[in-house]
Structure formats: C-alpha cells, structure tokens
C-alpha cells in the first residue's frame, strides 16, 4: 500500500474542516489513491476490493477500461458506504479535481450516515463482501467453478425481486420464526437471516404440497387433533363445528366441556385461515421465499442468501440516487465556491463541475436534478415560500417577491436529507415552478413516426413520469402469490399491473431461472391490454395462457 501523499493529506484536513464547519456528520473516511487500472478494477467490483468470482465483473472491467482508453469515460471518485467510509481517488487527477472529489465524498458520507434509508445497511460490508467471496470461492473449490457460476447467474437474474421496505418492517411472525428452534438453517455460518420458515429444504427432493401446512404449524397443535383432522376431507374441514362426543344430556357439560370446544373451533378456524393461502399475503421478497421454501442444497442456499444480502445492501443507493448525488454535489459546490477554491483553480473547477451537471436532453441527470432541488428547497425555506398562505396566494408578483426572511433553508435541507428517499423527495419538493424553470418535459415513443416525441409539459404528467420511473427502481412489482398453485406445489408469482406490460422475452427467460431454483413448474401472472396473462414454464416447455 502506498502511503497517502502529504499534499493530499493537507487537502483532506482542509476540506474536513470546512465540512465540520458546515455541520456535516460522517463516518471516518479513508482515502486511497489508485491508478486508473486499479480504480477501474475496484469500480468493476462495485467498489469492493474483495468479492466473489464472477464473469460479470470481468465484463464490467473490460468495458470500463475500454471506454477509459478511448477517453469516453473517467471515474473520478468512488465511495463505499461502510464504517469507516472508503473513498478512492484517481492518481493522475490534478489538485483541484482531488479537492472537488473529496468535498463530494464528504457529502456522500454524511448522507450514508444520516439518511434513514441507509439506517439498516451493514456498515461492515467491506468485511461481509470479503466473507461472501471466501465462502463462494470455497464452494467453487469443492463443486467446480462452472457449476457455481451458473448458479450465481440464476440468482443474479432475480436479485431485484426483494422488498426494500422489509428491513424496516417488524412482522408478527418474525418472532414466531425466531421461536422455532430446529427449523433453523443447518448451516452455522449463515449470516443475515436467522430462521428459515420451513424445514422442508433439508431433504433435497420433497413434495412441495407439504409446504401448505407449514405456516400454520406455529401453534404446536397436539398430536391427537392433528390425527383427527387428517381424517377429515376438505368439505368437512370447512365445517368448524366438529361433532361432539356422544353423551347423555345431563353429562354433556362434563364430557364435552364448552370451553374446550370453543378452543378447538378456534384452532381449526385459524388453521383453515392459514391453509387458504400460502404465503398468507403476497410476499414481495421473492428471494426470501425461495430461501425459505425452495428445495435448495446447502451451497445453493448459501450463495442465494449472500446475493440477497448484497442486493439489500445496494438497494438504498438505488432508492436515493438523486438525493445522494444531489446532496454530494450541493456540498462540493458549496465548499468549493465558498471556501476551498483558489482563484487560479476556477476554470478547472468550472469545467469539472459543468461536466458533472451536464447531461442529455433525454435523460435526467440525477446530479443536476438533485442539486437543483436542494438549492430550490433551501431558497424556499429561507424566504418562507411554503405553507398555506404562500400556496394559496395567486398574485404572481407577490409570489415572485415573497420573502419572509426566515433563514430556515439550511435546517430544512438537513432534515430532508435525513428522512426522504427519491420518491418522496420528488413527490414533496418538485414544484410546478421548478418544473417550468428547468424546462422538464415528458416524452413517449410514437409508434407512427417511430421516434421519441415530446408529449407533455404539464407539471402533473412530468412528475408522474418521474415518480413512476423511480417506483421499485423502475422495475415491475413482482410478488409471490401462491407457493402451492393448483395444489401441486407449483409457484405462482404475480406482477402488479400498473399500466405497463412485462417484456415477454425477458419474463420467459427469468422464469427458467426461477424454475431451476423451485424445481416445480413456475408461473407469473400479469396483464396484457386488460386481459389476464399467465406465463408458465414447467422445466421443459413454455406456455402462455390468456383469460
């Protein structure tokens, strides 16, 4: 490891002082200086120097180094959400670039530490990733790289089927899960998830229909009742008033005590409720469902859980892309222009800064959108342009000169960076004025002229389009609907249709990978032009069913 050069260290302390003065709050930051090859390498691994082996990292590296060689792209900076934060600097950058990057990094680190959506991320991810790497390498040594890699491919194909709100939800059955010993994972070195909802995974091949009774097994029913119920067929089960023991009238109260029957009835009712559906409610975390219930063997489970964990680690970064970059850009520009910039560096700074904020007409630049929104919020709260009176004011001149001199802006943006993610950030703070000032428009593909055409400049349309592109990272919402579909242990997923259809080619290919994990036939239910459509794959053949 090269020693961190003294001039850079001086810059670091300087910037750090400014960051402290502005009230940024961050984990310790460790800067490392890398040449472009190393930086591309680290970037290919998503910022982590030690990860599991997979070809896609090689592809990413090939792409990065190629575009770097052609001068098409250059990574200035990388920062890892970890405690301490790791940030990488490009060796050949000049001093002013390093300054900007450092100021930018302080913004990011403050965001990582304080934004609510990052609260549940693993702050020792550096170690965790390396552990995943070691574990998967060990599996590869034992079972062969090709097999492991092919399996990783399948897992990655569905890595986005997670529930990004899950870390924040405390469900009732979480406790139940933890209370059931013996149904835990066999593996001891399984971090992340404690407790698998069902013990069925242990046996390798198994009849999936057995799953159906699992969720209801929580109560620990006594053997005799189980036995009795096994003899009832479905119709009888739906009758919650089972026949009482025969007895003389005056003895009935003693032979069939009413409390007992009430209790018994309740149990059956509960059981039926549970049986009706499995999972009881549609489950968004498809990966967890597969981990819990798919017949995976030890190493497959291990790999899938590692990939799920990494997906959860990266999810908040996807959820807060605009805010995170906007916040960092806000701080690098504030620190640079108010404090750190020397006159001689102005042109280089402006060049770099405009490069960061520049963009194309057809793609909103998250840096630009984010920073402009933060500035807008700061200005509005400084001038008191919020609340009922301002919003109901229809005098344009009055609105334009509205200034209550509240100076609440700084405080407000710190609050926003703490509680928002991109969706409610846009939803709450994107105003009509902002939309017009920045000339935002919505465009769509025109099938007639075969080109993308501006379709609207209306505030509502634009906002809706941005929000829908952010919802679930712009990916379809997919749930596990039924783990015992047709009562044959088949898996039914459902796509919550909100106006956009699934890409059929991709859907079929993805089903193949899920089927490999689930072993039984899998289906996904969606809509196509207001008709119900089910894609199915049974391990050999694809079929589509329209209703």
């Amino acid at each position: 490891m090269v020693k961190f050069p003294t001039p850079l260290k001086e810059i670091k302390y300087e910037i750090q002082q400014y960051a402290d003065d502005f009230g940024l709050d961050y984990y310790d930051i460790i800067f490392e200086v890398l040449d472009y090859e190393k930086l591309n390498e680290v970037a290919a691994y998503g910022g982590f120097p030690a990860r599991y082996p997979h070809w896609r990292f090689g592809m990413e590296y090939e792409h990065l180094s190629r575009t770097y060689t052609y001068g098409l792209s250059k990574i200035y900076e990388m920062v890892i959400n970890n405690d301490p934060c790791y940030a990488y600097l490009l060796e050949c950058n000049n001093e002013v670039d390093q300054k900007i990057v450092m100021a930018h990094v302080y913004g990011h680190c403050d965001f990582f530490k304080n934004n609510l959506w990052f609260a549940k991320t693993n702050r020792k991810m550096m170690d965790e990733m390396a552990n995943h790497g070691a574990r998967i390498t060990r599996h590869a040594d034992r079972h062969g790289m090709d097999r492991i890699e092919a399996f990783i491919d399948r897992c990655l194909s569905i890595e986005d089927l997670i529930d990004m709100h899950l870390p924040f939800i405390k469900r009732k059955d979480d406790e139940v899960r933890e209370m059931r010993p013996g149904l835990k994972f066999e593996s001891e070195d399984q971090p992340g998830h404690d407790g698998c909802g069902c013990g069925c995974g242990q046996g390798g091949e198994h009849a999936c229909s057995a799953h159906a009774s699992c969720p209801s097994a929580a109560g620990g029913p006594d053997m005799a009742e189980e036995f009795a119920e096994d003899f009832m067929d479905d119709e009888e089960q739906s009758d919650v008033h089972p026949s009482k023991l025969r007895s003389k009238d005056y003895m009935d109260e003693y032979i069939n005590p009413p409390e007992f029957w009430k209790e018994h009835e309740r149990k059956i009712r509960d059981k039926l409720k549970g049986k009706k559906k499995f999972p009881e409610e549609p489950q968004k975390d498809v990966l967890l469902f597969l981990l819990d219930h798919a017949p995976l063997n030890y190493w497959q489970r291990d790999i899938l859980s590692a990939i799920r964990e990494e997906a959860y680690y990266y999810a908040p970064q996807g959820q807060t892309k605009i805010m995170n970059e906007g916040w960092a850009t806000f701080w690098h520009s504030t620190i640079m222009t108010q404090k750190a910039l020397k006159a001689s560096e102005l042109v280089d700074y402006a060049d770099h800064h405009s490069g960061t904020l520049g963009g194309s007409r057809t793609r909103l630049n998250p840096y630009k959108l984010g920073v402009e929104l933060f500035r807008d919020i700061e200005e509005r709260w400084d001038k008191g342009r919020f609340g009922k009176e301002y919003e109901e004011c229809e005098d344009l001149a009055l609105r334009r000169d509205w200034d209550l001199n509240l100076k609440l802006g700084r405080k407000k943006i710190f609050e926003v960076r703490q509680v928002c993610n991109d969706i409610n950030f846009i939803d709450t703070y994107l105003t009509e004025e902002f939309c017009h000032r920045h000339k935002l428009f919505m465009y769509q593909y025109d099938t007639r002229t075969k080109q993308y055409v501006i379709t609207s400049r209306k505030f509502r349309d634009v906002k809706e389009a941005i929000l829908s592109s952010l919802t679930n990272f712009g990916r379809p919402l997919v749930y596990v609907e039924d783990g015992n579909y047709h009562n044959r242990g088949e898996l039914l997923l459902s796509h919550r249709y909100e106006g956009r259809i699934l890409d059929p080619v991709y859907a079929r290919d993805t089903l193949v990978n899920i089927q490999y994990l689930w072993k039984r036939p899998v289906h996904i239910q969606t809509m196509d032009d207001d008709r119900k459509l089910i894609f199915s794959f049974d391990g050999e053949h694809h079929s589509d069913k329209r209703e």
Binding site: E41, V42, A44, Y45, P49, R51, P53, H54, W55, R56, F57, G58, M59, Y61, E62, H63, R66, M145, L156, S157, I158, E159, D160, G318, G359, S360, R361, T362, R363, L364, N365, H438, K439, F441, M442, Q444, D446, T449, Q451, Y452, I454, T455, R457, V462, A465, S469, F473, G474, R475, P476, H495, R500, L502, D503, Y506, A507, T510, V512, N513, I524
Partner: protein, 367 residues
C-alpha cells in the same frame, strides 16, 4: 487483487468465445470482423451480456427530459447515439468490443467447423535451426564474453576478499570471473505455403458477390495462417484476360466484359512455375467466379487445370458465387470432367449464409 480481475476477465472472455462460436455463422456472414482487423488483433463487437430479469416492455414507456421544444416535436437523439432509456437506473445497452488474436479466431473457426489440422506436404522434415542467446555460461569464446556480468562477478569477488579499494576502484577480472553468453538452438519446422486467390471481375460480378469473396477469403486466410508459419498471398483478377494485382485492387476492381477462366488459370500456373516450385511449397489456389464462362473456353480451362495445376497443388478450390444474372455452368463442367481428382474442391456460394459451408468444403479435408 490483480489476479482476481484477471480471473474474472478470462472467464468472461471464455463466455464470449463460446458466444462467438455459437453465433459463428452470423459473424461470418456479416463480415463485420474484417473491418475491425488490426495488425494481429480483431476486435469483435458483442452486446453486453445481460442476465434476464423481469422488466417492462417498450410499450407505454414515458421518459422525462429537459430542454426546449413543444409537445409534438421529436426529441432529438443524442449525437453520441445514446438512446433514451430509463432514468439512469439501468446501464444502456452498450456494445462491448472484445479483442481476439487472429490465432484465437482461427481456433474458434477450426473448432466450430471441425477443420482438421493440415499436414504440410513434402518439406516436413526440413526444419530451420535457429540460435537464440538464452543463458550465461562459465566457458566460451572471448568474442561472446558478457562484459557486464564479468565485471560484476569480479567486483563481487573483490569485495568479498577485501581487495576492493574504493579510493582506487580498479576491477580486474580473473579467469574465474569471466562469463559468456550461451545459446540454445531450436528447431523450427518450416513449411512454405502460398494462397493464390483468383476472382472473376467480369460485369456479372456485382458488389454483393465481391463482398462474399472478400469474407470467404478473409476466413480462408485466417485459417491457413494459423496452420503455416510463413504464408504468402497472391491475387489474380480476370475477365477475358487475367493479371496479377495487389490486394487492394483485387477487391475493388470492377471490369466489364466476358469471362475466360482459362486466362486466370494460366496466370496461376505461370506464377507457380516461376515462384513456387511444388516440391517446396504448399500451394492453395482459390478461384471465385459466377461460372458464366465462354463456352469455347471450358475445354481449355479444364485442361490447364488438370495438367498444370492440380498435380502440383495441395488443393484447388472453386467457389461458384451466384451472380447478378444467376449462375453459369462451370461448376457442373468441373464436376463432370474431373470426378476422380480428389484435390479439386467445389462449392456453391449462394449468399452470405452459405459462406460457412463453403469454407467447410474448402478446408474440411485438411489437404
């Protein structure tokens, strides 16, 4: 760290190699590789490999942009070809260029078409001896003394024995200090090979036909190069008369007029006579034509081929490219009149898709 990225990179390359192999037909018939040929590297554009996931179809996509323009106006696509995509959450579908050496490419071709390795004829026992200085030895002629190593050794010795005086740093090597360069001889089996490409450039051969010839000859060239150490290429064009030309002219000449195949074969035979004695050379003539030969020329062509060319060459390949006005008779004539010649290979090249099959015919015997 460096090893891990190398490992992942090589795994990626292996996958790409597999992809190219399975799509070889596409790559061959598109001919897009040829334009990207460097000195000895070919970069092959492959789409970034993507793992499937559930995603939205194109229909109903709405994007948000920024800038001037009224509703109804088309959004200009960026000059760098960036298509509008999702708001920054997905990497665009970039083309990735993966570099392969021509050797690797030939290997892929060989594996996919199951081409046999060629056994060079005649001169396989003749091998050139090549000397290479590879090491250091204690003995040797003075002319090969390694000056620096000798003095280094002397210095070491003097330091050890305490003879070295830094005020008067004189170093005197004695016999034991002397080091000499030593060499190793390697035997390089050498075989000479020449490819002679002949093409009909008469009026009926259009640009499409030439493109086919160009692609076919690129692959033939690549394969044969991987089989022989040194290889020469000669080009002959003909209509009613033939002449030898350079590569550039070969692919870009358009003439009109009739077709006299014998003229090209004569030139080819002369060339072999003058430069490539068959006992020392492996000779591979390839002839491409639409087969629309003057009918009075057929006899002559066949006799030149049988007497002057076929006995001396490893194989003679004739590719009949379907021309602007259909296809002539020459292939049929060859097949009828020379059924017993095993080193005469003929193939139809109807269109670009047929190139692969033709290559298989030409090179599949390993002659």
């Amino acid at each position: 760290m460096a090893e891990t990225i190398e490992r992942d990179k090589s795994r990626f390359k292996k996958i790409v190699r597999g992809k190219i192999k399975s799509n070889l037909k596409k790559y061959i018939s598109h001919g897009e590789l040829i334009g990207r040929k460097g000195k000895d590297l070919v970069s092959i554009p492959v789409p970034q490999l993507e793992l499937p996931h559930f995603k939205f179809g194109k229909k109903g996509y709405t994007g948000v942009g920024q800038g001037d323009g009224e509703p109804g106006q088309p959004v200009s696509i960026d000059p760098d070809g960036d298509q509008p995509g999702q708001a920054g959450d997905q990497p665009g579908e970039h083309l990735l260029e993966v570099e392969f050496t021509l050797e690797e490419l030939a290997q892929i071709l060989g594996e996919e078409l199951e081409l046999p390795r060629i056994e060079p004829k005649g001169k396989k026992n003749i091998s050139a001896e090549k000397d290479k200085y590879t090491g250091i030895s204690m003995t040797g002629p003075e002319s090969l003394r390694h000056f620096k190593r000798t003095f280094k050794q002397a210095l070491k010795r003097q330091l050890m024995t305490g003879d070295y005086n830094y005020l008067d740093p004189t170093i005197i090597p004695v016999k034991e200090d002397k080091r000499y360069m030593s060499w190793k001889s390697t035997l390089n089996p050498e075989s000479n090979a020449v490819i002679i490409f002949m093409m009909d450039v008469s009026g009926s051969m259009g640009d499409t036909q030439k493109e086919i010839v160009r692609i076919t000859s690129f692959w033939i060239d690549t394969w044969l190069r991987s089989q022989y150490n040194g290889i020469e290429t000669r080009y002959i064009i003909h209509d009613a008369a033939a002449r030898e030309v350079d590569r550039e002219t070969f692919f870009h000449t358009k003439e009109s007029g009739g077709t006299r195949i014998s003229s090209a074969l004569e030139v080819c035979a002369d060339l072999m006579d003058q430069h490539y004695p068959p006992q020392e050379w492996n000779i591979y003539p390839f002839h491409f034509s639409d087969g629309d030969n003057f009918s009075d020329d057929n006899d002559k062509a066949v006799s030149v081929l049988r007497e002057k060319i076929l006995p001396h060459v490893n194989s003679f390949s004739y590719g009949e490219v379907y021309g602007l006005y259909g296809v002539g008779m020459f292939k049929k004539i060859l097949q009828e009149r020379c059924p017993e010649e095993t080193n005469l290979l003929v193939a139809d090249i109807r269109n670009k898709d047929a190139i692969m099959d033709a290559i298989k015919v030409f090179l599949g015997k390993g002659l």
